[in-house]
Amino acid sequence: MTTITTSAFYERSSRALNELRSRAESLQGSIGTGQRLTRGSDDPVGASQLRSLSRESRFSEISAVAGARVSSDLALTDSGLSDFAAYVTRVKELAVHAGTDTLTPAQRAGIGVEIKEIYSELIRLANSRDSAGDALFGGEAAGDAYTLDAAGLPVYAGTAQAGELALGEGQSVIRGVTGPEFLNFNGANGPTNLFTLVRELGDALQGNVADPAQAARDALGDLDTGLETITTAQTVVGSRMNWIDLIDDRRTQRSEQRTEMQADVGGADLATTVTALQEIMTVLEASQAAFTRLAGLSLFAMLR
């Protein structure tokens, strides 16, 4: 015969009620925080996954900022290159104009003055700044990309290469173009650069050479090559911007996936949790009611 002793009855009841109570409370905690895991040991693997997901998110945010920065720097580069191309086109027009034999030397000298003006504009343009205030065409150097030497001629002061910037997802992009990359080219008489070409043309038209009109006609070929170099550089910049857009899209997709995974691994599904809570509450109420009725059942109460 098993007797139900008083202490055993109370201990069993309190254990059962306590367990229901603590389960209800943990469910309530899940609803309150929206998180299924309150500490790592609730699900060690899930917690580790959540850690690496939040780490990735953190890096992804920074990559997004970096991508936006490179994008805006490349846009600045692009518009700078357009300006260069516009000036070169203008110089070409002027050179064609100056190449006609009908002009007087004074008129040619006037054109030469305009070309010299464009020359100094080109130097200023080459020293444009990027979004952070550093040289746009100077690679990784701080300060101006071109400095003037003793003779007043521009000398490249930057680094040979523009730096690379990580965009996340294991990808990186070169953040700009350096001056020599689009200003230096191989002319008819060997390597030259746009500054020398324009300056010499301006000087020639102002009467530095015996036949300025011929010099203007000769310069046309090199100006074409210079313009081509600039447009090539623009194409490169354009494709880099496309690349950044592509990486941005990928990053957005990845971040959606990440959020979904975070919700899957660590999030508490509200419908399931509330249902489970309701179930436990029902059982808890029933157990409490049963306990009260049973505890009131004492033989002492019956004996009068």
Binding site: T2, T3, I4, T5, T6, S7, A8, E11, R12, R15, R39, G40, S41, D42, D43, P44, V45, A47, S48, R51, S52, S54, R55, R58, F59, E61, I62, S63, V65, A66, R69, V70, A132, D134, G139, E140, A141, A142, G143, T159, G163, L165, A166, S298, L299, F300, L303
Partner: protein
């Protein structure tokens, strides 16, 4: 003739009165921890006639043999054994939970991620003083969080040590008390209510000792108990009236060991065993954390040394000190980040050395190691929680089994109260009848 009726009635009265007393005692102790239900052993007093008058039967009523204590020795031993196992598991679990909390809540992992992220941000513009200062502060946070994790682990270790010392002291107190109870038991009369309350005391002391450390007990003919640590081959803690001194020793690395009478003993169950195991885990986790901190210090400093700071001077170490407790930030200003490679001019925007630092941190797997540390701490906790839950239900069912056998049922006692009251009234009636009989005899004239 009537006189024997009187004495039979009187013995009945006495027996029912004693039974009523015991019932009242049972009722009032229904909620007392360690109380075992008592019942009265009675036997009939009768003798066959002497050789002079064979066939004659002399009836002399009822005799109280003693008070029976309805404790099942096996169930009691089971309660002690399972409680010791459960005590070990819960203490170990508590220790592991503390370790887990120390590592998770000190935020070493998020700080390390933030540090790496701010290094990545610094790459976008390595000469920006704000980004440099931000990265430096994040590096400081990493160092501080390592310090915090280490000191929290130290606190956990100290509190485990402290409570273990208290537990070891308690064992000595209980053992001394048990030896005294043993001596009293040898003098107590079997079946007396004095002996039963001593037995209650003995069993509750045994339970208290076994909560701290697993024991094996042997009960002698005089109800005195000898206690061995561990199993039946373990060393004697209490034997009759003598005890051996139980003591705790603390090693330099914070782990603990135990001695009995000066000889080292191994303790495999009870909460002291759990604490000893938790302390070993604390030590191991601390060693791991120190190793990760050292890797971080070495990797970051080596990368710094390969580059130049903003002003073009050689890179200075980022961290100083050693271990998780000792790591401090050594670089004093954001300008000190050696983002550019050696040979670069002042103010260079070249980030190749910064990239090298990030790659070195990646290659040294500092973050991965931290994740691994957190993972092993939390999975060890999860495994121990499962064990503790299983042992909890085993221990509680053993306790319930004992309570059902040895505990007081108020319903039974209520029925007994009525039964013994009626017996008392009936015995009173017997005396009244004897009196009436006597009166009848006297009235014959």
């Amino acid at each position: 003739m009537a006189s024997s009726l009187f004495s039979i009635g009187l013995s009945g009265l006495r027996a029912s009165r004693a039974a009523l007393d015991l019932t009242a005692q049972n009722i009032s102790n229904a909620g007392t921890e360690g109380y075992v239900r008592r019942s009265l052993n009675v036997s009939e007093v009768a003798s066959v006639g002497s050789w002079l008058v064979p066939g004659d039967l002399t009836l002399s009523g009822v005799r109280i043999d003693g008070v029976a204590r309805n404790a099942d020795l096996f169930r009691q031993a089971e309660v002690r054994r399972t409680a010791a196992d459960y005590g070990r598991a819960t203490e170990e679990l508590a220790g592991f939970e503390n370790i887990e909390a120390a590592l998770e809540q000190s935020g070493v992992y998020p700080a390390m991620t933030a540090f790496e992220a701010s290094l990545q941000r610094l790459e976008t513009n390595p000469i920006d003083p704000a980004l440099r200062a931000g990265a430096l502060e994040d590096a400081r946070a990493v160092a501080r969080n390592f310090n915090l994790a280490s000191s929290t682990l130290d606190t956990a270790r100290d509190s485990l040590n402290f409570t273990a010392q208290a537990g070891a002291d308690q064992i000595n107190t209980y053992a001394t008390e048990l030896a005294r109870v043993n001596l009293q038991l040898t003098r107590a009369k079997a079946g007396s209510s004095d002996q039963t309350s001593l037995l209650d005391r003995r069993d509750s002391l045994l339970e208290q000792i076994s909560a701290q450390v697993g024991i094996h007990t042997a009960i002698g003919a005089d109800q005195s108990v000898s206690v061995r640590l561990g199993d039946s081959t373990g060393p004697l803690l209490v034997s009759a009236g003598t005890t051996q001194a139980f003591a705790m020793t603390t090693a330099a690395d914070g782990t603990i060991g135990f001695t009995l009478g000066g000889t080292a003993v191994s303790v495999t169950s009870g909460s002291l065993a759990g604490k000893a195991q938790a302390l070993i885990a604390v030590r191991d986790r601390k060693t791991e954390l120190d190793g990760i901190a050292d890797t971080l210090i070495a990797t970051a400093n080596a990368a710094q040394a390969n580059g130049v700071a903003l002003d073009g001077t050689a890179g200075q170490p980022l961290f100083a000190g050693a271990g998780a407790a000792g790591i401090t930030l050594s670089l004093t200003s954001g300008a000190g980040w050696a983002t550019a490679p050696a040979g670069a001019p002042a103010g260079s925007r070249d980030t190749s050395n910064l990239t090298a630092l990030r790659n070195a941190l990646d290659g040294a797997k500092v973050t991965d190691q931290l994740d691994g540390l957190l993972f092993s701490a939390s999975s060890a906790t999860a495994a121990r929680r499962t064990t503790a839950e299983a042992l909890d239900s085993i221990a509680s069912s053993a306790r319930l089994a004992l309570a059902e056998q040895a505990g007081v049922s108020l319903d039974d006692e209520a029925a007994n109260l009525v039964r013994f009251q009626q017996a008392f009234q009936a015995s009173g009636k017997v005396i009244q009848v004897a009196g009436d009989l006597f009166d009848t005899l006297l009235a014959i004239r």
